[in-house]
Symmetry: C2
Subunit: 346 residues, 2 copies
DNA sequence: ACGGACCGTGGGAGCGCTCCGACGCAGGCC
DNA sequence: GGCCTGCGTCGGAGCGCTCCCACGGTCCGT
């Protein structure tokens, strides 16, 4: 607040960052006392007048503790590192993410997101390890691997989780088995008498870890059903030309039902099919995934696979449990639920 | 790699985290030498055999430097803190975000996202300051305020930016003036002969910082045009019932053009209007914003306001410049571009 | 043969913080 | 009066790291 007049204009008020020693000096106590007061240490009794003096001095100086120094001394942190996935997250996943973040902060963890930025596996693990996080929740697709997990554990991480469709040896897994989505869709289409199922495979790079297992789920469900069901992979980029091209050769494909990977691709394909004069669901039934609002706004209303992710609260509890007992054998938690929602497109 | 057999199964290999002293001991050199080698210090010459011994020792122990210790010693960090906004970001913004993150990492900054989690203003600033970031790019909506900016600067932050439709005193601003979006939409509708403009105001809480200025932009454009243009605010929640209710009383509103806040609300409203038998664009012209793919898939194809955000590269350069010269007067950079895209709905 | 330049390496301080042990002092007991 | 108890506070070490400075050795020039 007070401008220091004899500094050059170059260097404004922020001159030297106040430390606990500065607070101690101003309050006329020792650094130890400052620490006790500001941390409300219960084991040590400090008189009320002293407490007040310290707090006032801290406020006057605008003192903010130095997290790095604190954790250096403590020998550990409360940082939970969540490397951000490369793929932009949809509303479903980002809500899950926020909830988890909130729940973890209830457990007094500090959630830090950290771009991996092209690093993969051990490289990425090393970069993350520099922060000495107590737990890491990494996207399964980051290719952590047993080596990466080991790097993190050796750097002091008590809990290493993968999150998503893939997992890593030695780490706990919050497995989001995307095959369930495919199975669910396939079962739905089979129940409605469809036998020749098209499966949209997005050509976008980052979606592969999701798209492949969803297709695999379809394949499994069809295999279970018997010989007469077939599956056709339909590569499709998220643009109108690609969709139009696919629609143009649609009738040659002999497909009576299609799973479109998600609702957005469903909308894209539905439009292209309708422009081509192909009736949905009469000629081809269609089911998407994610249960987005836009599906309800399509005509016909889009059938979809609703995906349920676990509550952030539950997961935060799990993370906390593993942090407290790092010796636990790595567990695989299947956290993805899928249910078909029947509307008009199937 | 080597299992330590006489530890209990409770405590796996990760036993004590190796430090540079351990590396030094194993390589038979001093800690200083380890530091020189691993940091490739150019001012000090270390013989090649020594370098090799150090590197091998580091690899064998799985040594990872301790970021906190390093920055404690250095007295500063290369951390750029980007508190995550509460509102889930759309694809436009999250792409911008990723690009910025990438570009900053090119400048050797470490980008850390950090949930604010309900804290606002000074509270939040204090929490952020604990990390001693060299720069902070905060959402304008975080309510930083002059006090918050001061807290950050006093904690050593060289550059404080706000990002979004709002700004904070004392901080640089990457201002995304959402009024432009409204102005652009209004101008487009006026040009097409519309005079009674409805403006959708989403009822969702977090959208207000965007919705209000967009509406304000409409108002300004209409005012500029003259007396005969009117504006009607249309509160709308993002669900079908709300849209149906609005559509039911549509004809009583006397609106010949509508700006729907964004493309998703446009889709919602267009469906509701069409279900009500109201012709778009004949009875009511419609324009959205964000230029999402889904707009192109609607029938009629949706006119929209394309929003352009600046390149992450440019912004990273700006951040870097301010970090190098923290004395700079705070500047306001208008970084939002808006152009109307005419399709069929207007 | 001797002084100085220079090269490779080590010693050690100190960044800001916490926490263990110690220390002084007041009050009560023998 | 001396001793003990306990309360409030302080001194100081050390977390892992970097970097200034010192130091011993080799080699060259005179």
């Amino acid at each position: 607040m007070v401008q220091i007049p004899n500094k050059t204009a170059q260097q404004p008020a922020q001159y030297s960052v106040p430390t606990s020693a500065d607070v101690a000096r101003l309050a006329g106590v020792s650094r130890a006392t400052v620490s006790y007061v500001l941390n409300n240490t219960s084991a040590v009794r400090i008189s009320e007048p002293t407490r007040r003096r310290v707090r006032e001095a801290a406020k006057e100086l605008g003192y903010v503790p130095h997290a790095a120094a604190r954790s250096l001394r403590a020998g550990h942190t409360r940082v939970v590192l969540m490397p951000t996935p490369q793929i932009p997250a949809g509303p479903l996943f980002s809500e899950f993410f926020n909830e988890l973040q909130w729940a973890l902060s209830r457990f007094d963890y500090t959630v830090v997101q950290y771009g991996s930025l092209g690093l993969t596996g051990e490289e990425a693990a090393r970069a993350w390890a520099e922060l000495r996080p107590v737990a890491v929740l990494a996207p399964g697709a980051s290719g952590l691997g047993a080596r990466g997990v080991s790097v993190l554990k050796r750097s002091g991480a008590k809990a290493v989780f993968t999150l998503g469709p893939q997992q890593a040896e030695g780490a706990h897994a919050l497995l989001m088995d995307q095959r369930l989505v495919g199975q669910c869709a396939a079962t739905h289409l089979l129940e409605r008498g469809k036998r020749h199922i098209g499966v949209v495979i997005p050509e976008e790079q980052g979606l592969e870890p999701f798209a492949r297992p969803r297709a695999e789920g379809i394949r499994q469900a069809l295999a279970q059903h018997g010989q007469d069901a077939t599956m056709t992979e339909l590569p499709l980029a998220y643009d109108e030309e690609s969709a139009a091209r696919l629609a143009a050769r649609w009738r040659t494909l002999g497909v009576d039902g299609v799973f479109t990977y998600n609702d957005e691709f469903a909308m894209l394909l539905m439009r292209a099919l309708q422009d081509e004069g192909i009736a949905v669901p009469e000629e081809t039934a269609m089911i998407g995934a994610d249960d987005l609002m836009l599906g309800r706004l399509l005509r016909p209303r889009l059938s979809t696979v609703r995906i349920e992710l676990p509550s952030g609260q539950k997961l935060a509890e799990l993370v906390d449990r593993v942090v407290r007992d790092p010796g636990m054998e790595p567990e695989v938690h299947d956290v993805l639920g899928a249910t078909a929602v029947h509307r008009e497109s199937s």
